[in-house]
């Protein structure tokens, strides 16, 4: 067994203590599993590309593991992870020659704060609820989701098929997304109620 030096904090000082690497790995794995989907969400909110957000999350995971021994475990893991993710996203966008806009670091920091205020729900529960919510949607809205997310159609193509302007379709999708959000939230609340009984 190897030992790692980990920072931990008492009332006045930060001291280094030796902890077994296996338990460190276990702790890191637990935290990453708990917060991974939120880290991906954060990265996605910065780069707006799903595949890029997933790739960046992989890269961030390695960096986080390397830096984990320095992580003060009394701090928020999510906030710490978002700090690393923010830098990686910034590097990524700088490296993209097609990116014509400057990375807004202040917004990225604000988004990290807002991320902490979102309800924390297990991904599996969220997806189960989402599946049920999709089934309760009107036919047209189901059709939109099927075309875009299951068949990979572009928003513009679906707007054309529906015979409306892209702007009108954006508004419609926004309402649909809010409806799903409310439905998922309500179903998760009911789950909590069931567990409490």
């Amino acid at each position: 067994m190897t030992l790692q030096m980990v920072n931990t904090t008492n009332r006045s000082n930060t001291i280094s203590v030796a902890v077994p690497e296996d338990s460190l790995q276990q702790k890191f794995d637990e935290l990453l599993a708990r917060y991974r989907s939120r880290i991906v969400l954060y990265l996605f909110s910065l780069v707006q590309q799903t595949a890029d957000a997933e790739d960046l999350c992989q890269r961030c995971s390695l960096i986080m593991w390397r830096k984990f021994p320095e992580f003060d475990q009394q701090r928020s893991f999510l906030a710490w992870a978002c700090g690393i993710a923010r830098k990686e996203a910034m590097n990524y966008r700088r490296a993209r020659s097609t990116d014509r806009l400057q990375f807004q670091s202040d917004i990225a920091e604000l988004l990290a704060v807002s991320l902490e205020s979102l309800e924390e729900e297990q991904e599996k529960h969220r997806l189960d609820a989402l599946k049920q919510c999709i089934q309760s949607l009107p036919e047209t809205d189901q059709g939109f989701l099927q075309r875009i997310y299951w068949e990979g159609a572009a928003f513009e193509a679906v707007a054309d098929e529906w015979g409306c302007s892209l702007k009108t379709f954006y508004n419609r999708m926004s309402l649909l997304r809010r409806r799903l959000l409310r439905c998922v939230s309500r179903r998760l609340n009911l789950e909590i109620l069931d567990q409490q009984r």
Binding site: Q49, L101, T168
Partner: protein
Amino acid sequence: MSPQSHPSFSTEIDALVEAALAGQLSNEEQLRLDESLRTSPKFRKAYLEAMQIHLDLNRLSEQMEWPGKNFSLTPSPGVSSFWKKTLLAIGCCVAVALLVVVSQRLWIPQRQHDQGTGALAVTPVENTTATDSESIIDPPVVADRPPIVVDAAQAIFFGEGLVPTSGRELFLKKRYVLTQGMLSLEFVTGARTILKAPSIFTVVGPATIQMHSGHCSVHAPPGAEGFQVLSPTAEVVDLGTRFVVNVAQTGETELQVVDGMASLVATEGTPRAPILLKEGESIKVESGITPVPSSKSSGKSTYLEHLPDRVVQYQATQSSEGLADELLSVVVQRGGIPREYSRDKLIRSRLTHLSCVPAGGGLCLPQGADLPQGQDRHALLDEDWSLVTGIANPRMAVDEEAIHPDKAVMTVEFSSPIVNGPGPDILVFDLHLLVQSPAGNQFRVRSGDANGPKSIFLINQFDLGLNSPYALDLTPYRLWRNATAIHSVEDLLTAEFVLHGSQVHVDTKALVVGIDLSDLGYKPGESLTRLDFLSVPRSQDVDAIDPVLIVGLPELPDERK
């Protein structure tokens, strides 16, 4: 109101978020989105939530086949087997939940001053007796979130700047006065209520509503049992499924249980034990009278399953200023089910008769458009989808109106028969000035078929009136007035018209009303081909309508199969 709290601003940012998700955000749009994210915590949260749903949909699509039905994007008006199965499943769940509830110990919220008195003032319902200390079900333990409006039909709150619209949250502890229309609320537990004007109510908590007066229908599906309705004289607790509470302005309370069970405690006078009511039973709590449950034969239930059938909303093309121009689709609730019709599914009508007094009526045209000639004038009402082209003020001369008050001022003929189905069968879109009546201009209709019924029906309230957020603002129009009297379509095609007033834009909206052929005397399944429009006598001091589109809805398939 700050610019950022204005609804149109919010809509614009929502569209930018969708554009970001579609990968179609321009640099300029990205900067606008960034600015909103920088300045508003609310938008940051909404932005992250939209991203979360997008990612979850992506993940779900990777993990499983499409979980819904395979629908064509061209909507089908019929009830799908999916819905039938869903309704069947809900029915089964309700039945199972009811069995579970009955088998559990009972709970009724017992107030402090009731303790120790114990005597039963009424005979509890057979086999469902509860003692003071027993409980049926705990009220739901939920976050202290207010209910949201899921549907509204011509609903107006007294003293509120805005009409209640879908998705809007109500405030907890606030007293609302519903002066007009109906409102459907969904509580965080999943319980739904329908409130009908005139009603005064306060949302006390996430599973409790206080009815000061008025009508409240409650549907508490499995998981939402324990929903409470408080009145000045009673406390009603839902034990699963459906009931209705009517509260008179003097406080008398009537409870009718439509399905499942509910309990009631009278809160005035001698302390009472809870009374349990089963399906079909009702009870009245009146001052000085011992409340006794009565059976289902005592009266017709006033329970509302859903809001009335009506036009729910429509979509139209938008100008660069965001003003509506051509109809794209319309959502109409028929038989309790909202159904969306793209415009190619609608049945067109053609003008066959028209009366307009000299300089009193005319044609509506887009601002800047030339006056069409001859048969092209037909197209304004009959052939295009524009919501700013049509007929203005069809009306007879005063003396003629006095002699023939029920003579048609306008008649249209549909390209195929309109079959009387559930809810609206014909839609009339009307160009309406913002300075006119909020309910829309009154008019009367009657069958124009030689063998059709001759009942005359007065339309005095549009489904989407001026106050509705779903009545869209229109692109600028101009009124061309007829120089001579028009007594027929031939006159319309040849008459001289003069541009009325200057080219100044007057704010207008397109209002819509659905006409149910049953109101004209048609039986279900019977059909109409011609529809007469009759004006409302001038003595009633109402403006005439400006119809810009008159269409029929396709027949619904037989849903009993």
